[in-house]
Amino acid sequence: MRTFIVLLQKEFLQIRRNSFLPRLIIAFPVLVMLLMPLIMTMDVRNVNVALVDLDLSVVSRRIASHIEASEYLDLIETTAEYQLAIEALEQGEVDVIVQIPDNFERDMMLSAPERISIIANAVNATKGGIGMQYIVQTIARALAELRGENAPVGFSELMTVENRYNPTLDYRHYMIPALMIILFILICGFLPALSIVGEKESGSIEQINVTPVSRFTFILSKLVPYWIIGLFVLTVAIIVARLVYGLEPAGSVWAIYLGALLFIFTISGFSLTVANFSETMQQTMFVMFFFIMIFMLMSGLLTPVDSMPEWAQRFTLILPPRYFVEILRSVYLKGTSIAELWVNYVALALFAFVFNTLAAVTYKKQI
């Protein structure tokens, strides 16, 4: 035990002595939490709309004012010439063209009026698709309003929409838990591996290996500091999310910490395994990077697992971050309890066990 404390002290001393690490540990979570949510947004805003108004009626003006009023749409051009609008679309000044046919107002009450046509630039599929939806909704609302005013008995709205768990459909609320996981992967995944391989490179591991220190004690002394740092970083991230974005976990904080603890065990065990097989820092970096890419892209951090192809969905079952993503999002947004998420906790615990055993087995004190 005394040996372990000595090793831990040495580890922290080294981290403190490092000119870069302590700053990274503080600045990294704060910056990631402050900057990334602003940048990594899937919300579609500033959709530029050109209105080709061939009708010039009350109806078309009503539609125009609705587009102008929308916070997602910018009406940048109103013209009577379709050709001009198409040119603007080609030059990228306009994302969506709305064309209101001649005599639309008059024909509106007929059974088959000429339809309003909407043309969108779908190079950016998300923006095109979502922008299109906004337009359709906006126009529908304008028309419904008009019909309601004209009808003797007010039209009642036929649909209501409610977005549960993330009522404002704020993409940030979806991303922030993912960012916390990325922080973990980088801090608890990269750093311990680099620190062990660093000892290999400097040769000091050899000096340790001829001491009576057991490999278990040594490895644990390499991990514990990053476990502590990981939990510290999580705390910082939770506080930043609360203060800056007003995002509070709907469920219990303990459910988050338990998941985090299991995930840290998993990822650090994984990083140790990688370290055991590498001789140089470069090698470690590349191998880690390869896996981290897969973790980031396939665990549902950025895109939902449900929309992946079937085989990919099955593959995600062996990616530990997938389970932690689910825990964090459910607890944060839905307030799900540990009991309801038990499968995810068990899966993480299993991964933690497997990777750490693998790390212990592959670490050879005698080469």
């Binding site: 040495k10 001393l13 002595r17 040769g203 050899e206 290996n209 001829v210 001491t211 009576p212 005698q366």
Partner: protein, 298 residues
């Protein structure tokens, strides 16, 4: 019981035989030198004896403990100083020392009198980071750390490589001092001149031990007459001398060529045989360990 007993120890890396059927013993309190060029297998032998490697075949005992079965016991009884500086460069001199003491459950105060001859040289710099020390001071710190737990056997792998001549000599004085205190020391070096300061030496090459004896005895065993020859055109001299009668070998040795000869050799007829060589000088010289080494390598 000897401090180190090695029986038919072998270790291969892929197809290279790093240590090839080596056997020898080192007595308690002996300063034993492993002398050989780079790639002779010295480091591998050290790594086997300090339990960092497992042998392919053969066995060895260090301080009575088997290197495979009792490897844990060995680790607290030996001090090992690898060829490359391998302490923590970001910790200070004192922190390194305290750290290794703590790992062995030793106390710096208690061991102070043992390490003092070495440590007192670097004590004024105890607050300096180990990475910022000069080469010679790093060696002294590494030696202090290897001694901190009062080991009974000390393994020093090329401790003087890359250290200046004065520090090297100083380092050997320290080793002599430690030997006085009863430590068994196994030291390797590629420098033949350092061999003279060992009690016994083993000359090794390509994983094998060529001969083991005291340095004096090894020199005495050089049973040929040896000359030093020089001329203005050294290379031509070398080529011609090698072809002369009675010459067993001729090789560059510092400013001269060393000429190993047998009974058929005669200085006068040698001069005639060489023919016209400007500024030819022939002197009789005493053999050194290096001459013996070159002879054994053939």
């Amino acid at each position: 019981m000897s401090a180190i007993e090695i029986h038919n120890l072998s270790k291969c890396f892929a197809k290279t035989k790093a240590v090839d059927n080596v056997s020898f013993c080192v007595e308690k309190g002996e300063l034993f030198g492993l002398i050989g060029p780079d790639g002779a297998g010295k480091t591998t032998l050290f790594r086997l004896l300090t339990t960092l490697l497992n042998p392919d075949s053969g066995n060895a005992k260090v301080d009575g403990c088997d290197i495979v079965e009792d490897y844990i016991a060995i680790r607290s009884r030996v001090g090992y100083m690898p060829g490359r500086f391998s302490l923590y460069p970001d910790l200070t001199v004192e922190e390194n020392l305290q750290f290794f003491a703590a790992l062995f459950g030793a106390d710096v105060e208690e061991s102070y009198e043992l390490i003092a001859p070495v440590y007192k040289h670097i004590e004024p710099f105890r607050a300096r980071r180990a990475g910022k020390l000069s080469g010679g001071m790093k060696q002294k710190l590494a030696l202090s750390c290897a001694l901190i737990h009062r080991p009974s056997v000390l393994f020093l792998d090329e401790p003087t490589t890359g250290v200046d001549a004065v520090s090297r000599s100083e380092f050997w004085d320290m080793l002599a001092c430690l030997k006085e205190k009863g430590l068994t020391i196994l030291v390797s070096t590629p420098y033949m001149d350092e061999a003279l300061r060992c009690d016994r030496i083993a000359l090794c090459n390509e994983g094998r031990v060529l001969c083991i004896d005291t340095p004096k005895e090894i020199i005495r065993r050089f049973d040929r007459k040896l000359y030093g020859i020089s001329a203005k055109t050294m290379f031509r001299l070398l080529e011609k001398a090698r072809k002369a009668t009675g010459v067993e070998g001729c090789y560059p040795f510092g400013e001269m060529h060393h000429l190993v000869v047998n009974d058929k050799f005669d200085v006068e007829s040698f001069k005639i045989e060489l023919g016209d060589i400007e500024g030819l000088q022939i002197v009789s010289v005493e053999p050194t360990i290096e001459d013996m080494f070159i002879k054994l390598m053939k």
